[in-house]
């Protein structure tokens, strides 16, 4: 009894507080100079930054020629990036050889695409079904006739003239929206119990995956016409589109298959025992779970497709990168030490903006779809 009871006899005096654990100095001590090795690494890091940052700053901003600069400025010694060249070539980078007076047509296509795509990507916006139907079915038709012309008194513009960012975006948007469902169907086909379908899907996937995209495109542009009846041609642009789509769908199929394999057999059986048909089971039960598992892989394929669009130069299309490489009259006028570099940097930045957005959006989607039900 006495062992349990306790009465304090001496009071404890106040002591000085331990070392500060917050604030800039404490943070630096903890994260930058915790040990001698850390200190050395920190110093080395700072030296590296001091060495690399100022020249980069000078090239990109300090000594760069702004958008309103002149060729002479770009040709000066010590001149940095020649942004003036980009701004004077911007139209070519965006539209390629698309007739200048007609450029309002791609502009409408861009605006319409943004107006339909952005609400589709924001979960809270209502009317998703209508929105999706408009984007997937109405939009491509409208865009095609707007861009190609030849109807409603619109001047026909052959696809050979399309170029720049316009081509990059068309190929990637069409490629992504078509290769995704196609990849799902191929993945399901590969798991099918029907031997013919299964063999066809495996054959297609393995063949396409075993061949570089560049040779698929090359085949499409050189070989395909040989098999065509005399006088019949398929548009180069269409061939590139089909090539890119089929290529990506094979990769997509394997990504989706990975997701399908992660779904326990019990899920298939529960659906079956309730009397749901095969397609109902897939649509309501299996695919929503499987696709959620493989969002990173799917977006990986999308990003790869977006960057691979630059390979369509093989069939003579002028996508963004090719437009930057093209030595047209303006490019020759603007010739200077840094013109080409600036062009490539610009292309890289545009690609980065699109790919990075896709990546961030996929992370957002993953978080949103995670209902915390993992068991």
């Amino acid at each position: 009894m006495t062992d349990i009871g306790f009465v304090r006899a001496d009071m404890v005096d106040a002591k000085p507080a331990p070392n500060r654990t917050s604030g800039a100095i404490a943070w630096a001590q903890k994260n930058l100079f915790a040990t001698p090795l850390d200190g050395v690494l920190t110093v080395l890091g700072v030296v590296f930054l001091l060495w690399i940052v100022p020249p980069l700053y000078n090239f990109f901003i300090g000594h760069a020629v702004g958008p309103s600069g002149t060729v002479e400025e770009c040709r000066m010694e010590n001149a940095g990036a020649c942004w003036a060249y980009i701004s004077s070539e911007m139209e070519f980078f965006i539209y390629g050889f698309y007739d200048i007076p007609q450029q309002w047509r791609p502009n409408i296509v861009f605006a319409l695409g943004a107006a339909l795509l952005i609400p589709l990507l924001i979960p809270k916006v209502p009317f998703k079904r209508t929105n999706a139907v408009l984007f997937l079915f109405a939009y491509p038709v409208v865009s095609y006739f707007l861009l190609a012309g030849g109807v409603f008194g619109l001047m026909p513009i052959p696809t050979e003239k399309w170029g720049g960012l316009l081509v990059t975006l068309i190929i990637s948007v069409v490629g992504i929206t078509l290769s995704f469902p196609l990849g799902i169907i191929l993945a399901l086909g590969r798991q099918s119990k029907m031997p013919v379908i299964k063999t066809l899907c495996i054959g297609f996937i393995e063949l396409v995956r075993a061949v570089p995209l560049i040779s698929v495109l090359f085949m499409a542009s050189i070989m395909l016409p040989l098999f065509m009846p005399q006088g019949m041609t398929i548009d180069k642009f269409l061939r590139a589109l089909v090539g890119v789509t089929l290529f990506t769908s094979a990769y997509m199929a394997e990504v989706v298959r990975g997701g399908l394999q992660a779904i326990p057999r019990g899920q298939y059986e529960a659906g079956a025992s309730l009397g749901l048909s095969y397609w109902q089971r897939m649509y309501f039960i299996i695919l929503p779970q499987a696709l959620k598992h493989v969002i990173p892989g799917i977006v990986n394929s999308f990003i790869a497709l977006f960057k691979d669009t630059s390979l369509v130069y093989i069939v003579g299309m002028k996508d963004l990168l090719e437009a930057v490489k093209t030595k047209n009259d303006t490019a020759l006028e603007w010739q200077s030490a840094n013109t080409a570099t600036t062009g490539y940097l610009f292309a890289a930045m545009v690609f980065w903006v699109f790919c990075f957005s896709m990546s961030r959006y996929s992370i957002f989607m993953e978080r949103r779809l995670n209902t915390g039900y993992k068991r």
Partner: protein, 265 residues
């Protein structure tokens, strides 16, 4: 061994349950099944009348789960016939779907759809298989959720529920299709001991309503209380079947005696 046993007349829940004399729910005739070269089910003959409640017992690997999985064609049989509600199961997908609509199944691991809420789990099949309007399907779903005593969980996800609750949802999900036969594949084996009772209570009340039930289970108390026939399987064969009273007090086959001596302490 009686093929179909009458109710015993004992003052248990059993006496209130009606068994049809004429309507056959399930008939299995000379059925065999192989997994590759392994003969899992051998010459199974079984006739289940409407309203019968059958418990299938036996050691693991005896083929009891495989047998009830054959009854809604989650597994294929290679020889013999399985006739459910008058429809023979063949490779014909239409017939399979027809049978599955009328046969509910409850799994050991619940197999709820984790990406759907409880209510969506319950209404998915009625809406898309039976074509019932959404509002009506939801009303039915709530009715069965109340019956299994968890209406307040309707808008949660399966992962937020306990095992016992999930299994009750799984039972309710099958009931929403208003099946004529319910199959239970070890429904309490994956549950914490504390949760077994709540699931068994739901199953007992289902039996009292006259549902035709086939249960693979190790709950011998449940078998005594509800079953009107116990089937004992070993090595893919039906070794013995009898009324529960006689089955437990006076087993005939040596294998049955051994099994019972091991599980009844």
């Amino acid at each position: 061994m009686s093929q179909v046993s009458e109710t015993t007349g004992a003052p248990t829940a059993r006496s209130t349950m009606q068994i049809s004399d004429t309507n056959v729910a399930i008939e299995v005739i000379g059925m065999h099944k192989w997994y590759a070269d392994f003969h899992v089910l051998r010459d199974i003959n079984l006739k289940v009348m409407e309203g019968e409640r059958i418990v299938i017992a036996g050691p693991s690997g005896s083929g009891k789960s495989t047998l009830i999985r054959c009854i809604n064609r989650l597994e294929e049989h290679q020889e013999g016939q399985i006739i459910v509600n008058g429809t023979e199961l063949t490779a014909d997908l239409k017939r399979i779907d027809e049978v599955r609509r009328e046969v509910g199944m409850v799994f050991q691991h619940f197999n709820l759809f984790p990406h759907l809420t409880i209510l969506q789990n319950l209404t998915l099949a009625p809406i898309w298989v039976r074509g019932i309007p959404k509002a009506e399907a939801e009303a039915t779903a709530m009715h069965y959720l109340e019956r299994v005593k968890i209406p307040e969980q309707a808008n949660k996800f399966p992962g937020q529920l306990s095992g016992g609750q999930q299994q009750r949802v799984a039972i309710a999900r099958s009931l929403c299709m208003q099946p004529r036969i319910m199959l239970f594949d070890e429904p309490t084996s994956a549950l914490d001991p504390e949760m077994v009772k709540e699931v068994l209570e739901v199953m007992i009340s289902l039996a009292e309503d006259g549902m035709t039930m086939l249960c693979v289970t190790h709950e011998m108390g449940f078998a005594r209380q509800v079953a009107n026939r116990v089937i004992f399987m070993d090595q893919g064969q039906i070794i013995e079947q009898n009324e529960p009273e006689a089955f437990f007090s006076n087993p005939q086959h040596e294998r049955t005696k051994l099994f019972l001596s091991q599980i009844l302490h």
